[in-house]
């Protein structure tokens, strides 16, 4: 469970997060949606202690992220940012193995190796395992990063725009893998998602933000309404029921 209590954050006088309080329950996929600059990424960064909050606090399973020692938190919560410009030339296997660092401190046990193999298999990276990251396509690299975060074995996995760089096939594949992580492995997955229909089709809960404030949060079907989407995105969106899913269509 992630408890966010009246968190605020400003950049050079601009309030990016304004007194946001939110509880993300254990299990399932929660998607943060909102227009550009709504504060989704900032909220994710503050919740994962990549950014310090100006006010308020965040607790993960009761541990305050600002004061809990880094290695302890690294075994409970993993985060991947949107830009991952990495100049380091590692093989995919080496990168994924670094996900075990919080547990083994670099000396991998047999169990660690097994978990690395499992993460590689899960993201279908087996054939690429010995390739260097700079020899991969953007989508393959993105999969390798997410595999590393999964290999970290944390209960909470926070991902900022994990579908970045992915084409349609790989985007669907990635979302299915994340779905599996939530359903089969019991992880709590929190995503920043650009596409409201991805959020609608794959997540259990939606958190909608606008101008640094929480607009609404709740189970996905309840939030996929024309009224709410207009409020969040400032554009008319028709919502249609398609094969049991709610799809928003803004192009009218």
């Amino acid at each position: 469970m992630i408890e966010i209590e009246s968190v605020s954050k400003s950049y050079g006088g601009v309030r990016v997060l304004d007194d946001v309080s939110l509880t993300i329950p254990t299990g399932g996929i929660t998607s943060l949606i909102g227009a550009n600059g709504a504060g989704k990424s900032t909220l994710l960064s503050v919740a994962s202690r990549l950014l310090p909050a100006d006010g308020g606090r965040v607790r993960v399973d009761g541990m305050d992220v600002a004061t809990t020692p880094g290695p302890v938190l690294a075994r409970r919560l993993a985060v991947l940012r949107q830009e991952n410009a990495m100049s380091v030339r590692l093989t995919v296997r080496e990168l994924v193995a670094f996900g075990r660092f919080p547990h083994s401190g670099g000396r991998l046990t047999a169990e660690d190796h097994r978990l690395v193999d499992e993460a590689l298999a899960w993201f279908e990276l087996g054939p690429l395992a010995d390739r260097h990251l700079d020899q991969l396509s953007g989508g393959q690299r993105q999969r390798a990063y997410v595999a590393m975060v999964m290999c970290q074995g944390t209960d909470h996995v926070l991902l900022d725009e994990p579908l970045n760089n992915l084409d349609m096939r790989h985007a669907v594949q990635m979302m299915r893998m994340l779905r599996g992580m939530a359903d089969e492995l019991g992880r709590t997955v929190v995503l920043v998602v650009h596409d409201v229909n991805v959020a609608s089709c794959y997540s259990d809960r939606i958190v909608a933000m606008r101008e640094g404030q929480l607009v609404a949060e709740g189970p996905t079907p309840e939030l996929m309404t024309p009224e709410l989407l207009r409020k969040v995105f400032d554009v008319e969106v028709e919502v249609h029921e398609l094969a049991g899913r709610r799809i928003g269509v803004p192009w009218s």
Binding site: P69, G70, R75, V79, V88, R93, G126, D130
Partner: protein
């Protein structure tokens, strides 16, 4: 499934063999007559040459070469820039200034004074470089080492000015230009400190790798980013200072060797660091043997040979990088 790429075990074995061979060559190269057969029944003079000159020289070369290459590797990783090394970050020049200041304060004989002040100046200089990097928005990777070279140029000008005013110009030249001919028993032992620094770097190799991935990766994996970067840069600075104070600067060593090794083996420091140390030692050893034989019985400073060999290798690296980019 776990196919090994790049450097393999037998490569390392061959490299070790070559290093051993060059080490033997180094022991028996010099003006005093000493051949391997003499060791069976050495006279007093030969024993003295071996233990007060040849062995210390070999040890100094191996220590300085391996430590400087590792210092470059660590620096390159932590600044996330392949062109940053103690020689392109201005660290070497700061040590030079430190040596002059130490000489003016304590006289020319205090090695310990030179080392202390050299280390202090190297730490301050490297910290200043990193501070500048954090404040400048630099998009081009080549601009970063340029800033370091610029900074080094300014510092070096101050050094020259001081040296000129106090009539130390010639000494500065001798200090700065890497040269192992002055290495004798009793005058190189400070270099054992760099071995300790290299071992620490190896123990922290994984942390440096993680820090090299960037701040958010490091935080995510529970690695205290700022502290790791500071420790790594301190190791590089201390190593550079001790090496420059003891034997002088060997151009390109900290730049070319780590680049060559990581080009072949990737960037996982735990794997790469030992090979970098070996390659650095071999690079300096070969340069030194060349320096002693090219103009036999006279010696050319090893810094000069290192500059030529390293420069050629560096240009080759740059050309190769361009080919790969196109």
């Amino acid at each position: 499934m776990r196919r090994r790429r790049g450097v393999q075990r037998w490569h390392v074995a061959v490299a070790l063999g070559a290093l051993a061979l060059a080490a033997v060559a180094s022991l028996f190269t010099g003006v005093s007559d000493l051949t391997p057969t003499d060791l069976l029944d050495p006279d007093e003079a030969q024993t003295r040459v071996l233990w007060t000159s040849r062995v210390p020289r070999l040890l100094a070369i191996l220590l300085a070469g391996s430590a400087m290459a590792v210092a470059g590797l660590v620096m390159m990783h932590l600044t996330r820039n392949r062109f940053v090394s103690p020689q392109t970050a201005g660290t070497t020049e700061w040590v030079g200034l430190g040596i002059v200041v130490a000489t003016l304060s304590f006289g020319g004989t205090s090695v310990f004074g030179k080392m202390t002040i050299g280390v202090a100046f190297a730490l301050v200089g490297t910290a200043l470089f990193v501070w500048l990097l954090q404040r400048l928005v630099l998009t081009d990777v080549v601009v970063v080492p340029l800033v370091g070279i610029l900074l080094g140029g300014v510092v070096s000008a101050v050094t020259t000015f001081l040296a000129y005013r106090f009539d130390l110009l010639q000494s500065v030249d001798v200090w700065m230009n890497g040269d192992f001919s002055g290495v004798l028993a009793g005058r190189y032992e400070l270099l054992w400190l760099v071995l300790a620094a290299t071992v620490v770097a190896y123990l922290w190799a994984d942390r440096f790798s993680v820090a090299g991935m960037g701040e958010s990766f490091a935080i995510n994996l529970g690695v205290p980013y700022t502290r790791v970067v500071m420790v790594g840069l301190a190791i590089s600075s201390v190593v550079t200072a001790i090496v420059v104070v003891s034997v002088g600067s060997i151009p390109f060593l900290g730049l070319v060797v780590p680049n060559l090794v990581t080009l072949a083996m990737g960037d996982n420091l735990r794997r790469v660091l030992p090979v970098t140390a070996l390659t650095g030692a071999a690079f300096v050893l070969v340069c030194d043997v060349l320096a002693r034989t090219i103009r036999y019985p006279y010696e050319v400073p090893v810094g000069m040979i290192g500059g030529v060999v390293g420069g050629v290798l560096f240009i080759w690296l740059l050309l190769r990088a361009r080919d790969r980019a196109v």
